[in-house]
Amino acid sequence: MTNNYILIETKDLKKNFGELEVLKGISEVIHQGEVVSIIGPSGGGKSTFLRCLNLLEKPTSGHVYFEGEELTENGNLDLHRQKIGMVFQQFNVFPHLTVLNNITLAPMLEKKLSKQEAEYKAMELLKKVGLEDKANEYPRKLSGGQKQRLAIVRALAMEPDVMLFDEPTSALDPEMVKGVLEVIQQLAEEMMTCVIVTHEMGFAKKISDRVLFIDGGVVVESGTPEEIFDNPKQERTKEFLAQIL
């Protein structure tokens, strides 16, 4: 599934919120084409780690490299971020823009796509997630699941090299979860590099090439889904899995 090209690398990533050490030094590598799920208890640092990967959260110390270049506030951060799609727990769709304009805004502004090009591509993406008939609606008319699918294709419209998912189904009603997971799975099958913070253990097991268990601000254990879910080695991993499975 993966090749050896390193897409994202973190070196001794640390993040403090005031006195609180949320990340205590994480060095990890994400390869191109890899699907990595991050699991762990709330407050363990998994979302913060993910948010550091595109510098939405500024690390207190340590480094993040994307496609071989270090991400910094001053470097071409906006350009790099165009290549790093992100999907949020709360969707964060733009309520004042139609579904179509949610998708076309950034490509037109930042990649200078013409309106026709951007709209053509947006419609293709909307078809892919079954929202083409909502193109001219405002997001308030969408269900949570539809909003999240919109948020995913909005990120895809920038043609990113990696997609970061921050608990993409945690805010959804149970009956909405499946549709969103299917979209993510489809992306994974298309060889999109994905990093997914999730509480959906069944999904993580099915879809991932690798699973990271993050707790207490460190990667406690990492391995294939079988290694983590079926034969966890660390006590903390075992405890966590025993609690939720």
Partner: protein, 221 residues
């Protein structure tokens, strides 16, 4: 007691009308120019640079923490004295200058509040798409903030209509100034009630308009 209120109003209504138009005009100038200046102050205030931001903070605190009347006196007496080159300018403008500065402080807080009221997830979503800070502000944050800003701005205009009454002290022809004009005709108490009635009527009508606007704006949520 002499003449009654209605008789005075019928006899001198053109004076009151001219005063009201002056009031509406000066309040509009103060809020319009104050909005432009206030927007700049708000942007400076929102700067990540703490020193730059605190300069705007001091500006706002000074102007909101001191009485407008004091600010007007300083503008009226001190500015022409400190800058003799400005002596030829009509003193009306110094009083207006104070009104504009005062309004800009309030408006900047309205704008800052409006911007801060937009969910931070909106900023994060836009920035994570690779949108620049500027494009994010213009295309994502401000269009959403404006819903909160517009009604407050209209309320600021209503407040300013009352504040401009202080400008009559400096001979600006606005509603309160009509009191001075008619006092010269030995009409002391009647104009006060007429003036109060006009202020009340105007602010009530405008407040009702703001409520209507708020309703309209919230429909699209």
């Amino acid at each position: 007691m002499g003449q009654g209120i209605i008789e005075v109003f019928i006899a001198y209504w053109p004076i009151f009308l001219k005063g009201l138009l002056g009031t509406l005009k000066y309040a509009l100038i103060a809020v319009a120019l104050g909005s432009i200046l206030g927007a700049l102050v708000a942007l400076v205030h929102l700067s990540k640079n703490k020193i730059v931001s605190s300069i705007a903070g001091i500006y706002v605190n000074v102007l909101r923490g001191t009485p407008l009347l004091v600010q007007m006196y300083i503008a009226y007496y001190f500015i022409p004295m400190a800058f003799p080159i400005l002596n030829k300018i009509d003193t009306v403008y110094f009083v207006l200058f104070a009104l504009v500065l005062n309004s800009s402080a309030y408006v900047s807080e309205i704008i800052r509040g409006g911007i801060n009221s937009v969910d931070s997830g909106q900023n994060e979503a836009a920035r994570s798409l690779g949108m620049t800070a500027k494009n994010t502000m213009i295309k994502i944050i401000l269009p959403q903030a404006i819903k909160n800003i517009l009604p407050s701005l209209a309320n600021e205009y209503i407040a300013m209509i009352k504040e401009t009454s202080l400008a009559g002290t400096f001979m600006l022809y606005e509603l309160m100034y009509t009191r001075t004009l008619l006092a010269n005709k030995y009409l002391v108490w009647q104009p006060l009630f007429i003036i109060a009635g006009i202020y009340l009527l105007v602010t009530m009508v405008l407040s009702w308009g703001v409520k209507l606007m708020e309703k309209r704006l919230s429909v699209s949520d």
